[in-house]
Subunit: 272 residues, 4 copies
């Protein structure tokens, strides 16, 4: 199953699925794709009883794309030893063996491994609690904007809203990809397209990784201008709603002393 569905902005209750498998005494392994979820939404490989977690570098880990990795349960490793299906990505034995001495069976993407080491340091320095709370707050701000526009959030159930991205449905008759094209060409901002059966029906706003309130305000401004230019009638200003949200919801967890020591000057200087 997928932890955070990147194409829709919906999260899944992994622990509940584990409980259902266990209740049914079913021997299936629980495989979870947390490519876009890891380090932006709460995720607990061991505690939730996941057998195989799959993630990658290019989302919450704030790196360029290029590496993917697995976390494995003992049960998954055991199952792998006797599995008969042809496998390549899931063939872990050689990797596990060589990792013991710090090596890899083939040539790994070394520069991304250095980057991953740094990204993990950054996340742990902030504290995972702080990082996850930050994404929840951003997501609420973006959803406040979508509601103010009078548009529909693709994820119908608030219990599984994604802290990573929000899918924005277009009114009947509006081609979402035409809106995306205007926003890209006029405002240099590239939004995610609708995939599969919602192609042309929605676009996606990301609020993950190395962002802050103002990068989201930039994105929302681009959306609001682009929607209007595309002729979409908006109920109100999502930009004002998001500002109301961000201004009235200070980050509750304090910046850690380590962060302040490490970053005496802001990393995003857009003004002089």
């Amino acid at each position: 199953m997928v932890h955070n569905e990147t194409s829709t902005g919906v999260t899944s209750n992994i622990a509940a699925v584990r409980r259902a498998i266990d209740a049914a005494k079913h021997p299936a392994l629980l495989l979870v794709d947390t490519i876009s979820g890891l380090a932006s939404a709460d995720y607990r490989h061991d505690e939730w009883g996941v057998d195989v977690s799959i993630s990658g570098s290019q989302k919450g880990l704030m790196l360029p794309p290029g590496i993917s990795f697995n976390a494995l349960s003992v049960k998954a490793i055991e199952a792998s030893k006797t599995a008969k299906l042809p496998k390549s990505f899931w063939a872990w034995d050689e990797i596990i063996e060589m990792n013991k001495t710090g090596y890899w069976p083939s040539t790994p993407n070394t520069n991304l491994l250095y980057g991953l080491n740094e990204a993990c340091d950054m996340l742990l320095e902030h504290g995972l609690d702080v990082v996850l709370a930050r994404h929840l707050r951003w997501a609420e701000g973006v959803r406040a904007a979508v509601r103010a526009w009078g548009l529909q959030i693709q994820c119908a159930d608030p219990a599984v809203y994604s802290p990573i991205l929000t899918g924005v449905m277009m009114p009947e008759g509006v081609d979402a990809d035409a809106v995306r094209k205007i926003i890209y060409e006029r405002f240099d901002c590239s939004l995610g397209t609708g995939l599969g059966k919602v192609k042309g029906r929605m676009f996606r706003i990301g609020h993950l990784g190395d962002s802050n309130d103002l990068t989201l305000m930039a994105a929302l401004s681009g959306c609001e201008m682009g929607l209007k230019l595309a002729g979409v009638r908006l109920a109100g200003s999502g930009v004002l709603a998001a500002m109301d949200h961000f201004a009235s919801h200070p980050v509750s967890l304090p910046r850690s002393p380590a962060m302040d020591a490490a970053a005496p000057t802001p990393t995003r200087v857009v003004l002089t």
Copy 2:
């Protein structure tokens, strides 16, 4: 004189000063500081009869700080040969001599020279006309926001508005630096402080160099939220006014084919 006054957001009419010097038949050299002006506001060393132009890497040339340079008229070079005042920055003879063979009398900042070469290529690829028009348009958008807030633009004369930055005056009784502190701490955005006798009376919003409409919307959003949090009563939303401006004023000059070929993907991907 100063081409673009960074501390106030006011430009000067260099050509008019040259004409006044000439009309008075005064032998003075015309020295112009265009550190923040070059490559963001129209500037013509030869055509305007400037004797010494001074600029640097860190503004419109889009580089880190670290190098400064002069353009010289024949008259300035001649005057330098017989000048009696002690000089160091203005002692060009050794530099001119060694530059003939591509060298420098002391160890130059080589990495910024490579960067400068690239920055000039970028500016010329866009076309200076395009670059200068872009800054004028951004400045109008930011001033639209300031007016909508009901605040005063520091530069009183529209004829000399700066395309590079806008000084925003605070109402009586508001400490501009307290506002800046809120914007920095809450929204990770560092605004320029008031200098000299306007210290604490204003802050500055930059709209120069490697920006786009949405980086300015980010900055204006940070200002609007910070002003409100600081208790400043705003007449209206500057963010809405700026969006109206940017959406209703498309960039009139087309992107050059070279740009499109060079940049098939956007350089500022803030959404996924």
Copy 3:
């Protein structure tokens, strides 16, 4: 088959194998691994009738590891459509389809694609003829050193010597990995280990990609010092032999004007 065998320093005659397949009228596809060969040794996918060429970023293309790619013949593409074996790396249809519009079915390693673009520009600016001649000359210099040491080159047949690396056999009783350890710990130089059945019997010296005569002299100096420190009796100085070779064999093909214009200063300044 393998174009350049990285573990031994042996090249293969691809064109001859193609002719043998054709003479036997055998329908097999000719798959060639040119991961370490491409852009350092002569290789001709079309002319030699290769069906599938496999290469990667991290050897002659002078990039960090992280991407691998295929070149395909029409015959290979056709065969793929009806192939019944499970396949993942060899499943090209979706890639071919999306490449038409400049996209990729999954998230590609974008930063390495930018690097690959630059690496290709560099190679074509030098000229492939120049690049290939350069590697042949380096290989001869390194082999001159090995012969002067009185050691054996792993590749027994001069007709298939690799221009990319040279395998150096140790005398009986010498542990090649102990020699490698000394060279690494004392001289900060990491040599390739013997793989498979020559483990501990040989080490490998690379002479590929972004090297020059002096980086090879550095490597050979490290080897010569390390061999002596390990107690290996050398017949003579390989370093002197390599210097004789490099000094008496100037690069026959001139540097292109484009290179000189692009690189007025040396890229490897080790002295001041």
Copy 4:
């Protein structure tokens, strides 16, 4: 005075000059240029009673050129307050005042300041004792090569040999710059030229900063080949002499545990 004379490869006894000034009860300030000396040769601003030390980023601090800085004694600061000569580089009062709150009176070269912070961490992680011993050992290896060639070291007094660079005198009738040109064009290695009255009579080999035994072997190989190609008759092989030196003189101080932890893989991989 100059701590390490970059144009000749001679160091000065700073402490002795201080004692001479004190013995003469002379009020002069002791100003020392340690641009090329700092962090490669022993230097003690406080202990040696220096009033003003001047250094820069581009030598032992292993950074690109672009910043220079001073260390000041209380006596120098006091003298500065009443000095009547025009001054710019030596006008410290505004800098000292603003540094108290972490600022700078003009725009500093921020990216080099970040680099300087990292360079200082690297030096202190190795330990200054280790760094200085390393340079002394490199210098002896390079001088062993010059002696083996039968050429003269420019610095006539072994007591003041520089650990940073070695000046190599040419025999009568040999144009040092012609030798340098061959080494640059044939071997991509740029050596320092003779300055002032030794122009054309010598060249300089640097052994400072971020080097290792093999980068020096690369440089010495380039010199030996270039000298021979220029027709200089050499008494013997400097390259062999330097290898003898480096192989028989292991670095006496162990690598620190911190270094090994920080750098599990070599930073200079020249072989594969």
